[in-house]
Amino acid sequence: MDFERILTTVAGELFAPTTAAYALAAIGLNIHFGLTGLLNFGQAGFMLLGAYGFAVSTIAGFPIWAALLVAVACSTVFALVLGIPTLKLRGDYLAIVTIAAAEIVRIVGRSTALTDVTGASSGLRGDSYKETFHSLSPFGDGSSTIGPFTYSNSFSNSWWLRVVAWVVVALACLLVWRLMRSPWGRVLKGIREDEDAVRSLGKNVYAYKMQALVLGGVIGSIAGILYVLPRAVQPDSMGRPMTFWVWTILLLGGAATVFGPVLGSMLFWSVLMLIRVVGRDVIPSSVMSTAQIEQFGWIVVGVTLMLLVIFRPQGILGDKKELAINVR
């Protein structure tokens, strides 16, 4: 076994762009679920919509800021469309509607009727929309090595993308930290505990839930952009499993905490990588093929989620005392 290679691969996952994208998506979900108690089971839909909004408008010739605005606008409209009929109803309705709506985004995106726009099921090639982002890079061409890590400076899965992605994650953490400690965050927390009590105190619960849904969704759509910048837009890789992993990450790190989503994402992706590389080295291919080891990694994820919900529902960073209060 080559320990150094394993360690490097695993450590590389800790700050990979995908890890940052998932952390950001989980931060958005944290605003929905952790802060407000909204059950959004369609975070991947927001991500895919952000990715499409950005990629399609960039391909159409929009500058990067306009493409970003398009992504934000798409997810805002999506959140409003989901929220208007459901946020006045019981929480379960939002859950059902978001699962379905995210699937609709994916299915519409991959339909052959839209081949000219979204590339249907084969999606959009990365090269077709990455250029505006690359050209903003101050790092120039070529690649650089820092310690054991070598990545291209600006292109695709680059240092530039890593810097931008983690700065965005840091800003999102700052935003959540500020909001959680504000009177606005207090109202959301009240809504999470008991909507009617908050209503009786004169707060427009519907408006607050809508704000939370839009804000978390917009953050999800930006996560979607970060997710597709080092790869291609592939609708089928952004379906229900993606939503499920974002949930796992949030619950692993701890809902209603500032850094839970970040820690969750880092752990999730590095442990998954650890299982894969160790598995490939240790398990003879007569027992498990590489593809099976990959599957095995996902099984571990599923089991982890179950154990987590049963034994540590507050996650790693969550406040045990807070969760110990049984809601009566």
Binding site: L175, R178, L179, S182, P183, W184, G185, R186, V187, K189, G190, R192, E193, D194, D196, A197, V198, R199, S200, L201, G202, K203, N204, V205, Q211, L215, K321, E322, L323, I325, N326, V327, R328
Partner: protein, 307 residues
């Protein structure tokens, strides 16, 4: 009964739906049906401003449903009502509360995983930091937050919850949660408070001072409408009593006249044969002591349950 309230209500006929000299709340033909049963069918009711009005009636009389309707938590099949001259029919609960009519719930709604202090702060009005954009700029709301906190501390002190201010509301006993809910409702300086069984489960050692608070509210000009089962308490603090049975308003009057009314004894005592309506002493010594012991036992049991 306060002297002012007594003079104001002196000329009011003791009949259900009687007109008041200065009504703050007027409701007409309010009907709410659940499937086959008519939970509320109130022709006309007026609540006099600045008084303590008790709403009594056997279980299932429709008192809570009437509260839900008036405060926008439920929609009637028909009916209309005004609060301070403003029509409030169909107005959502949050706007009713903002208009100055704040309620508490029979089944307490303390926000369990928030501290007592956070619960209180949530009750305040006019906190600019409750807007998403202003929340990002603390200087815009810090000063108001200080005022709110000071007010909350003062109220918590009055309701004997000051020591608990940093505890989760979910760790309080049932009675303490009732107190918290009432204190929280007062954070917005409501014109009218609607209390649904505010004393149920409250430690008897505290009821006396709580009664004092309710009277104090009235004396500062707040109108109080409350549902209560304890006849001693109703007799002791209310200026006016309205009686509901099977959804209708069946009697109204001063506590003395209402409790002597045969219709009330029929409707109400039908369900409460052992209720003593006549005794004017709020809690005589031996009863008080017995209740206190029961409460202590309950509190102890509650503490054990917590562990």
């Amino acid at each position: 009964m306060s002297a002012d309230a007594a003079t104001a209500l002196a000329g009011v006929p003791r009949t259900p739906g009687a007109a008041k000299p200065d009504p703050i709340l007027v409701a007409d033909d309010v009907v709410r049906r659940f499937g086959g049963i008519t939970a509320v069918d109130v022709r006309h009711i007026e609540v006099q401003r600045g008084t303590i009005t008790a709403l009594i009636g056997p279980n299932g009389a429709g008192k809570t449903t009437l509260f839900n309707l008036l405060t926008g938590f439920d929609r009637p099949n028909s009916g209309s009502w005004t609060f301070e001259g403003r029509s409030l029919g169909g107005v959502p609960a949050a706007r009713v509360s903002k208009a100055g009519m704040v309620r508490t719930f029979q089944l307490t709604k303390a926000l369990s995983r928030m501290t007592v202090m956070e619960n209180m702060r949530l009750g305040a009005k006019d906190q600019p930091g409750e807007s998403l954009v202003k929340a990002l700029v603390p200087p815009l709301w810090r000063a108001r937050e200080k005022e709110i906190t000071a007010k909350a501390e003062e109220l918590l002190d009055r309701f004997k919850l000051y020591e608990k201010r940093d505890d989760f509301a979910g760790s309080l006993s049932g009675g303490q949660r009732k107190l918290l809910e009432m204190a929280r409702a007062l954070m917005s300086d409501p014109t009218m408070v609607m209390l649904d069984e505010p004393m149920a489960g409250v430690n008897p050692a505290l009821t006396q001072s709580l009664l004092g608070h309710i009277q104090g509210l009235r004396d500062q000009g707040t109108t109080v409408l409350f549902v209560e089962h304890d006849m001693h308490m109703v007799r002791h603090i209310s200026d006016w009593v309205a009686v509901m049975a099977e959804g209708r308003l069946v009697a109204e009057g001063t506590p003395g006249t209402v409790m002597a009314d045969p219709a009330v004894i029929d409707a109400y005592l039908g369900a409460h044969h052992d209720t003593d309506l006549g005794d004017d002493a709020l809690l005589d010594e031996s009863v008080a002591r017995q209740l206190e012991q029961e409460a202590a036992a309950e509190a102890k049991a509650h503490e054990e349950e917590q562990r």
